[in-house]
């Protein structure tokens, strides 16, 4: 495969894999409740996750070290173990929510019993992850996930007031209940900062044998892939603001978020968005299951990697299988995937600073990074976002309680 095609595929994969159930839930609800007033949270969150991802990718390409390898080394066994357990718990809850999300979309498409679809999805992911090599897991899910770009068409077709949209990129705390506004701000930022995304991105860099020549691909993926992912996130929020806010609808079901495209684009729009959701959430399911296995294997020093046959990294293989089985069982108990998503996203951000800090320290250490050590801009942005995400993490749980998970 030519380098250009490889880079294009990498970028398209990043766009298609950018949105998952957490983004759909929070962007849909924020648009329905506050119109465009929370648009500014999207670039703020995405620049932050971009800074974190770029550093993680650069550290992986330069020193061959993924996130939990650094967590253990920089924080030591004791604090690292707390970070691991918190990260695993949130990754597992996210995984359960993603499996539930896949089952909901399948139910909307095929009208079969939900419990049966959850079980079917669990088994299907077991087979797919077992059989597919790493790069195909990314492509099989992320490329059809690009169908979500229909939200961009819908947002433009709905002909919003572009001045009001522009004003949405300026913080406006008078837009409604300030606590609820803060909760959805934290939710949007936390959904873009889902920790598993970085665990997966950095481990994927090592899986694909990234070295110094891949540093440009790392930057391209972050800037274009995730930058265009931000456009998609913006379109989802604009669509929700245009369709749901004037009608007083709160999209508490995943299917309601999808309906936002049916009004401007008809059934074809709805079908495309459901296919996009199925594959985007499906991709996140595979990524969360694998992330759980990457984390524990890297922390304890087990052999790991999807580039190996299952028996070549046996405890790693059992770990992702166990994650998948546990996630399927959790959602089979009848928990609501949307509520579980909100819970996992908001609590998950609490674990982020502990995995962010080791990466930031390593990226700024010339003994690891040589000429790829953080420059002044990277360091400033890195420490700014560390402070920012720490504040968001501190505010997350009180806001979850005070707003009764956004119910007011």
């Amino acid at each position: 495969m030519s380098k250009a095609l490889g880079a294009l595929l990498g970028v398209l994969t990043a766009i298609g894999g950018f949105i998952e159930i957490g983004d759909l839930v929070f962007l849909g609800q924020a648009g329905a409740q506050f119109g465009y007033a929370l648009l500014w949270a999207i670039p703020l969150g995405i620049l932050g996750i971009g800074v974190f991802a770029e550093m993680s990718g650069r550290v992986a390409a330069t020193s061959g070290r993924p996130v939990f390898d650094l967590v253990r080394e920089r924080l030591g066994f004791g604090v690292g173990l707390i970070t691991l357990i918190a990260g695993q718990a949130m990754t597992l809850l996210t995984l359960a929510a993603e499996i539930g999300g896949v089952a909901i979309v399948l139910q909307l498409l095929f009208d079969l019993p939900n419990q049966l679809l959850i079980l079917g999805a669990g088994v299907a992911f077991l087979v797919l992850i077992w059989v597919l090599p790493f790069e195909w897991i990314e492509r099989v899910f992320s490329l059809p996930g690009l169908c979500l770009l229909v939200f961009v068409v819908a947002a433009i077709d709905l002909d919003p007031d572009w001045t009001a949209v522009g004003n949405g990129f300026v913080p406006n705390w008078d837009a409604g209940d300030p606590m609820l506004y803060a909760y959805y701000f934290v939710g949007i930022v936390a959904a873009t900062f889902m920790p598993y995304e970085i665990y997966f991105y950095s481990s994927g860099g090592v899986e694909e044998g990234w070295s110094r020549p891949h540093l440009r691909l790392n930057r391209l993926t972050v800037v274009f892939g995730w930058g265009l992912g931000a456009v998609l996130a913006t379109a989802i929020l604009i669509t929700a603001a245009q369709v749901f806010e004037p009608r007083g609808i709160e999209p508490e079901l995943l299917g309601t978020v999808a309906l936002g495209t049916q009004i401007p684009l008809g059934e074809a729009g709805l079908l495309l968005v459901l296919i996009g959701m199925l594959f985007a959430i499906g991709g996140a399911t595979a990524e969360t299951a694998l992330s759980g296995a990457y984390n524990i294997a890297q922390f304890l020093g087990w052999e790991w990697g999807k580039y190996k046959r299952p028996s070549g990294a046996p405890r790693f293989t059992f770990a992702w299988m166990a994650m998948l089985a546990a996630g399927t069982l959790i959602i089979l108990t009848g928990l609501d995937p949307v509520q579980l998503t909100e819970f996992a996203v908001v609590l998950g951000v609490v674990a982020v600073p502990f995995s962010y800090l080791p990466v930031l320290l390593a990226a700024g250490d010339p003994t690891y990074m040589g000429d790829q050590t953080n420059g002044q801009l990277q360091n400033t942005l890195g420490w700014f976002y560390f402070a920012f995400i720490s504040l968001v993490a501190v505010a997350a749980i009180p806001l979850l309680i005070v707003t009764n998970m956004g119910q007011g």
Binding site: L81, L300, G301, W302, P314
Partner: protein
């Protein structure tokens, strides 16, 4: 034996990934055994061995969670003489011998026996 005049134990050895002679990941450095070099004029510390395994997790100041984790994971400990250290690499510590010979990676070996029965394993 790999010779290093000066080693930062915290950053260069502790919690580092171990790679055996076939590049297989086979554990972490959980502890370091230090000996005294007998130079009467200026006594110096010397790394005698690396130690790996859950039996070390409850030692030191690692907190109650690590203690609990160690109770669950068991008491296995493997001592890797410094003579078996080939090189301290950027991402890992490379060993001269294979993991089975050193007694490392037993958990993966046991788990592999189960997986080999499955198709496309």
């Amino acid at each position: 034996m790999a010779r290093y005049e000066q080693i930062d134990l915290g950053l260069m050895l502790m919690d580092r990934q171990l790679l055996d002679a076939t590049e297989r990941r086979c554990g972490k450095v959980d502890d370091v055994e230090i000996g005294a070099e007998d130079r009467r004029s200026s006594p110096q510390a010397r790394v005698d061995a690396l130690v790996s395994g859950p039996g070390t997790w409850s030692s030191g100041n690692r907190g109650p969670l690590a203690w609990l984790f160690a109770r669950i994971a068991g008491s296995g400990v493997v001592r890797i003489p410094w003579d078996d250290v080939e090189e301290i690499e950027h991402a890992a510590i490379k060993l001269r011998r294979g993991a089975p010979e050193l007694g490392l990676g037993k958990g993966d070996d046991r788990a592999a026996q189960w997986l080999r029965r499955a198709p496309r394993s």
